[in-house]
Amino acid sequence: MITLKNVSKIYEPDTYALKNVSLHIEAGEFVSVVGQSGTGKTTLIRLIIAEERPTKGRVIIGDWDITNIKQREIPILRRQIGVVFQDFKLLPRKTIFENVAFGLEVAGVNLKRIQQVVPQVLKIVGLENKKDRFPKQLSGGEQQRAVIARALVHRPKILVADEPTGNLDSINTQEIINLLRKINEFGTTVVLVTHNREIVNSLRRRVITLDHGMIISDQSSGKYIL
């Protein structure tokens, strides 16, 4: 599903964010990417969603080589990859329903379909009763669930979560992880970038460890080794 072949990303003049990284993630996998700050985890995510281009190597999503993806093709890619960030990125003046619907609205989906899909994804994330609330009226965990709901509206094949629990307490963290597991069980490939040792160890799924832009460990049922 996701393939990186000898990928390097250099920020001018000579900072290596990633150095000769090769990896392959199968469809339906749940992969945790771990590593200390500044080891290239976020760069990896940005390459997958085509927010950055590799300096060397190739990035392939499904059968699509996105190494030199055209500007006008990026939206098509983004609709196949759901993205969740640590800082939520919800629009404060929109209700939860509107925030989730926003993803479909901007993709030109008609109103009938929006009213059909949004309640479904809100139900998956357990926010069906809070759809008319504004983000600030929800807890951090609930806000992150709303973001996941927004990421799911396009029924993406891949869900990329960059430190989704970074701002949450342990109870909310566990809720979000359970939700990501549930989404993975539906068949979506999940790439989780995290610092959280407990989460990684409790998941018992594949763990890729990055250090100074290089993969130093890739275990199929791994633990947080740093």
């Binding site: 926003f102 901007v106 109103l111 990421a151």
Partner: protein
């Protein structure tokens, strides 16, 4: 497509109302720009119409001596008519000239009595020459300067009208020059203001734009609302400009018409008959100006 259009309009309206006062200032500047250009164009119309009217009244009257025979005058008329510059030559015979003179002085018994006392008609015949264009009159005058006509022609009048036309041309040129300078200044201000408004709107919407891109909005969907918003400014500015101009024209028109009394010039009628053309031109101008300014801001500040 319809969904795309409706959502673009919705986002454009949001942008318009979120920075409401900025939008109002932008529209005011656009109104001033369109208004100043319209006034300059209007003055041009008045000036060119006035010049055309005066030009239409210009002719050269050639007064022949009373001793000159009719055949000699008709011969001169024939030669004048054969000139390529001449549009028409009107012959006023001695008797017609006398009748006209009597009519003009019908209320002056002294003159009429003096005429009665003269046994013969003291007036000579006249040829009224009209040129195809005002520039041809000097050539016609040169033709009449021919020594062969010295013994026949008593007087010619042309110079007075020429002075009026020169003055009008000069005035029209000055109005045009000042008008163009004012318009250019307003155009520059309008471009800068629209550019800045869209730039601020992009800044205000930066969070939304980021999310739009993240969830897969097409590049055009991100850009279009800002372009549409600038088109709102254009549409509203043109409508406001028309609403101001029409009553103002009602006030100014009678005075302009009075000034040019006798000349075929009616501003309101002109405005009415060319309403759609004027509206269309203003609209096209405002659209181009808005699209240009917002286009620069979008290209520069909205990286998709």
């Amino acid at each position: 497509m319809l969904v795309f259009l409706l959502r673009t309009i919705k986002f454009a309206l949001q942008g318009f109302f979120r920075n409401f006062w900025l939008s109002i200032v932008t529209i005011i500047i656009l109104v001033l720009t369109i208004f100043s250009i319209s006034v300059v164009a209007g003055l041009n119309v008045v000036a060119s119409k006035a010049i055309a009217s005066v030009e239409d009244k210009v002719d050269v009257s050639v007064y022949f001596k009373s001793t000159v025979s009719e055949s000699e005058i008709l011969n001169a008329r024939y030669r004048l008519e054969s000139l390529s510059e001449v549009e028409s030559v009107n012959y006023i015979s001695r008797n017609e000239a006398l009748d006209n003179f009597k009519k003009q002085h019908a209320n002056d018994p002294l003159i009429l009595e003096s005429l009665e006392q003269l046994e013969t008609n003291p007036l000579g015949a006249t040829l009224v020459v009209k040129a195809k264009s005002i520039e041809y009159y000097p050539r016609i005058m040169t033709f009449l300067e021919d020594p062969a006509y010295d013994d026949l022609i008593q007087d010619k009048n042309y110079e007075d009208n020429k002075e009026v036309i020169d003055k009008l041309n000069d005035l029209s040129d000055r109005i045009q020059r000042i008008g163009i300078i004012i318009s250019v200044v307003f155009i520059i201000i309008a471009v800068l203001i629209i550019f800045n408004t869209i730039r601020i709107n992009i800044y205000t919407h930066r969070e939304e734009i980021g999310i739009m891109k993240l969830v897969g909005a097409s590049n055009w969907f991100v850009r279009a609302p800002f372009l549409v918003e600038s088109l709102f400014y254009a549409v509203l500015a043109v409508i406001i400009c028309m609403v101001i101009m029409y009553p103002l024209l009602g006030v100014v028109a009678p005075q302009v018409n009075n000034f040019f009394e006798g000349y075929n010039l009616d501003l309101v009628q002109y405005f009415n008959s060319y309403f759609w053309r004027i509206f269309g031109l203003q609209f096209a101008f405002a659209l181009v100006l808005s699209a240009f300014s917002s286009g620069i801001a979008i290209t520069r500040y909205l990286k998709v």
